[in-house]
Subunit: 657 residues, 2 copies
Amino acid sequence: MSEQAPLKLNEAELRGLLDGRWAHVREQARDVLQGERFAPVHGLSMEEHRARTFDQLIALTETGIPTYGFPESVGGTNDVGASVVAFEMLVADMSLMVKMGVQFGLFGGAISALGTEEHHRRYLPGVMSVEIPGCFAMTETGHGSDVQRLRTTATYDPATEEFVVHTPDEAARKDYIGNAARDGRMAAVFAQLRTPGPDGPIEHGVHTLMVPIRDENGDPMPGVTIEDCGHKAGLNGVDNGRLWFDQVRVPRTDLLNRYGDVAPDGTYSSPIENPNRRFFTMLGTLIRGRISVAGGAGTATKAALSIAVRYSDTRRQFTRPSAEDGPAQEVPILDYLAHQRKLLPALARTYALHFAQEELVTRLHELSKNEERDEHAQRELESRAAGLKAVATWHATRTIQTCREACGGAGYMSNNRLPQLKADSDIFTTFEGDNTVLLQQVTKALLTNFQDSFGDLDQLGLARFMAGKVFETVIERTAAIPLIERLIAAAPGRGDDSGLYNRGWHLELLEDREKHITEGLAARLRRAKKDGSDAFEVFNQAQDHVLAAGRAHMDRVVLEAFVAGIDRCGDKSTAKLLNRLCDLYVLSVVEEDSGWFLEHERLSTARSKAITAAVNELCRGLRPYAVQLVDVFGLRDEWLGAPIALGAEHERQGDQA
Amino acid sequence: MSEQAPLKLNEAELRGLLDGRWAHVREQARDVLQGERFAPVHGLSMEEHRARTFDQLIALTETGIPTYGFPESVGGTNDVGASVVAFEMLVADMSLMVKMGVQFGLFGGAISALGTEEHHRRYLPGVMSVEIPGCFAMTETGHGSDVQRLRTTATYDPATEEFVVHTPDEAARKDYIGNAARDGRMAAVFAQLRTPGPDGPIEHGVHTLMVPIRDENGDPMPGVTIEDCGHKAGLNGVDNGRLWFDQVRVPRTDLLNRYGDVAPDGTYSSPIENPNRRFFTMLGTLIRGRISVAGGAGTATKAALSIAVRYSDTRRQFTRPSAEDGPAQEVPILDYLAHQRKLLPALARTYALHFAQEELVTRLHELSKNEERDEHAQRELESRAAGLKAVATWHATRTIQTCREACGGAGYMSNNRLPQLKADSDIFTTFEGDNTVLLQQVTKALLTNFQDSFGDLDQLGLARFMAGKVFETVIERTAAIPLIERLIAAAPGRGDDSGLYNRGWHLELLEDREKHITEGLAARLRRAKKDGSDAFEVFNQAQDHVLAAGRAHMDRVVLEAFVAGIDRCGDKSTAKLLNRLCDLYVLSVVEEDSGWFLEHERLSTARSKAITAAVNELCRGLRPYAVQLVDVFGLRDEWLGAPIALGAEHERQGDQA
């Protein structure tokens, strides 16, 4: 295959391309996060780990990193993109990554987004300096995914001009709350807001209030009960806890009142009339956390692949039958096709997701700069954030697991880092939105073309929503539109079996699958609606179809981002290599779902077999570049930490006679 | 679908069927493994965990469990099947499971299998009583999978009638050795045996010697260096370590000499002339460890499913649109199709693997009773053990991961047990043989019809082996042969699209796939051989094909075992239910590989789509029985330990107004 002629990878060029728009933030992180203080550790007790993580958090305040996401009015740099990128660089200990995310991203982010200037002035300096360690108290034991049904209440008392924050039952206790068990002083508490009305309390839906939870001595405030969630699978440097409020009173002005306010007399007002729309608008402002998690999952994946690829490049096992005249040689395990199959398609997808993430962060950043709110763009951003978070974290879980196995017994040793990467990142598929629920949101947005959907978290909302709608499947592009359309236009016609490596054909194939699945789903839901079937049953029987649509959409979006990324590469030979990697990404995606493509006659049986052969061929062709392709991720050796990735295996072999 | 009429599950009957031939061993374990001492714990330091595990091991000596696998001559009960079944019951803390496996199974097992009566008398009582804690020192840093190339040497010195055991380089240090870091007093050391010859030392291949590693005070013996492997992803109650030997001398009689002996004058003798055959015969006697791991993986999977299914049955999220007159109700998450899809096909496969495991243990047990060695049966057992270990441990890793995710944040909390089950069982895909290597052995045995293969661990052996062979694919059955053949005979003809639930068709479909893949592989290798291609390249380019053949074989073998197991069920209604579960197993296997079946025109596109619909339908139909289907595994509540599996969620909901 002529495509597989040797190429030269320009590492500086590729590093620059991957570092992207926020290269300076990545460089700063590489510069700052050095030495003993930030190096990976293992085997600490939970308390030691928590203390260390808190110290690290304080140390970060000397770097300027905490100011990225905050308004200039309080000393921030108002660079949302930078705040997300900085988060993802903290891979040396993901407990610090998450602790920082809780303090600056979630707690600080809620005050920024939902509070008004008075709140910013009062709280944000203390958030940035970690003088006010804080919690983002949204999730309750009874409701994680279904935020709209939280049960904590905040009832206004005009007599004292205070809100009474209360936990009515065990379902309403705040659960898994980061910073709660040890360090938090305040919490941004999500609660059902109630004001007095002539016929009893009036409900205004979920709002957020600032509630002190510990006094200066670190003791719980009166009426606040705190429990430690205890030991977890990973992230034991983060002190997750539970919170109960027993008629806790906070001043009226501690309601974060950007989207809903209560006057001293108890009159409620909001710039958004529709309560549903208000709720989803408020939630939408918190999208940064989800995007950060997708980025963090990406870095964890890159770290695991860096370790596994470097080790497999040096680790040898089993002897290659000797050439006539030479001695028998043991084979580096990355030379085996099965090993390449484990690591290289995962590496290709990691690249693809990297470009998709960069695109998403850019979009988030630009929307944050807009004066005018663009409803459609915001919906589209929320949908893509949900989808990318889901696919990136599933990919992380699967890939890090594979890397552990690919390193055998060495991969099971804590000092080789893979166990911690696996355990820490494991919860990423759950927090900031359960992946299955998120993928449904993606599909809903597709079906509604990003209109009127308010990012509804309620999966049954989908079924209810169907009534009387006319669906129109519109393929929306965000990345490099003219380039993508040009490539598709140049694709060979359907039924033409030439050009397995034709990018236009790839783009068309994934777009066609997305369109077909989504249209089929719409038709199915419409039919069921006409029959008068039970809305829950209709939704539930189609749930696998719903998820398939979301997945197909994301595969297409991620491919387009990869294609657009390669187009920005300034070095021809490097771009060619990236194109092979992109071939591997898309063909392994198609191979994984070959059943669908064959069932729907999008591939002939011969073509389907040819794709398997092509994936093998691409693995073989990319193998010589594998180490360079992980090195350009630019994760410092001391962040990887693993001796097996840092020459120990090579050194050991030198010792062997 | 009439198949889905309500059924009554007879729990006692099903429990009896699952408990099987060694039900008394399972009952004893349920009886003995109770109370504080054996309950699951988490959050211990490594040293605390090791101490606790060692105490538990000592406590086991009071139960008779350690005697199961040992000869009657030394006070054992010589019940190999019982020893494997007892191992798999120790799921309350898998560190104990593995520690027991190291002491009685590996260390004691090596002395039993490779030693002679003198060794049995001298060592086995101390092994059973744990007065001699011991190591199975096979794996070296440089060679795990490729045992034949171990580098530790044992050189005979006729002057003193001793062996000199030596570690020549870092590749040869013993690594990951259980019992080495803290407790072990002796080690069964695998080393290259050398005797003096006229022209320098004569090599006799890998043999095993008893080497003291610590004195009575617990200090390393002279010449022995011991290092702690340190903290691991899981199993931190097991003290894995590294061993180096510096010219350590042991008496001639401490060579385990059943398969090879050295006379005082240095003359080597063996009942097996061919060194290759001798090596694989010796390794073959150690097959019990691999079978035990498959069983342990099965129990870990059952425990995780028990937790996740019970929790999902009570945990509710999102509201079902209310009936006209009732209040809105939140939906138990196991009612969602997507959640059923996560857990129920995995449950079906767990059942299938259970029956395959029971069959394998029975076969092992019966062969151990045979006076005469049956080469073919032994090869067949080894191949099946390799295959079942691979598929059962991969299934465990995947399923426990899925269960964690299915329990959301609760699944991430250590007290809910899933983190520990995941971390502990993770290494099962690697130890006792890397799964990828094992699956290749399966295929090799298929290609050679279990002849002449000596269970060769060297994957390149496969390529070398091809020269001039004529392949003949023979489908070998072990389970209920007449029943299976009757079912296949009654299957509708190919191309007949009726009877999606016809068992004969299922059996034929999987058998046909295995045959086609294996024959295709054989033809491919033959062709390449004829071309005179490089043996390594030939093997390597076909490696995915090799693995696919092994996987297809195991799917068929496991299905046959499931079918045979159901045939033993005495209750008609329960058998019907098991048949639905078996439908779910086989149809989800086919669905997962639908690309292959379509590519090879074994399924029409319509049939393939119908299978997806059938899997959904089966999930829905089995959902009401899910809790019973995990309860009959008979894992004690206190072994599961997880509050979310033991009523905590139900209780919490009772609290909610």
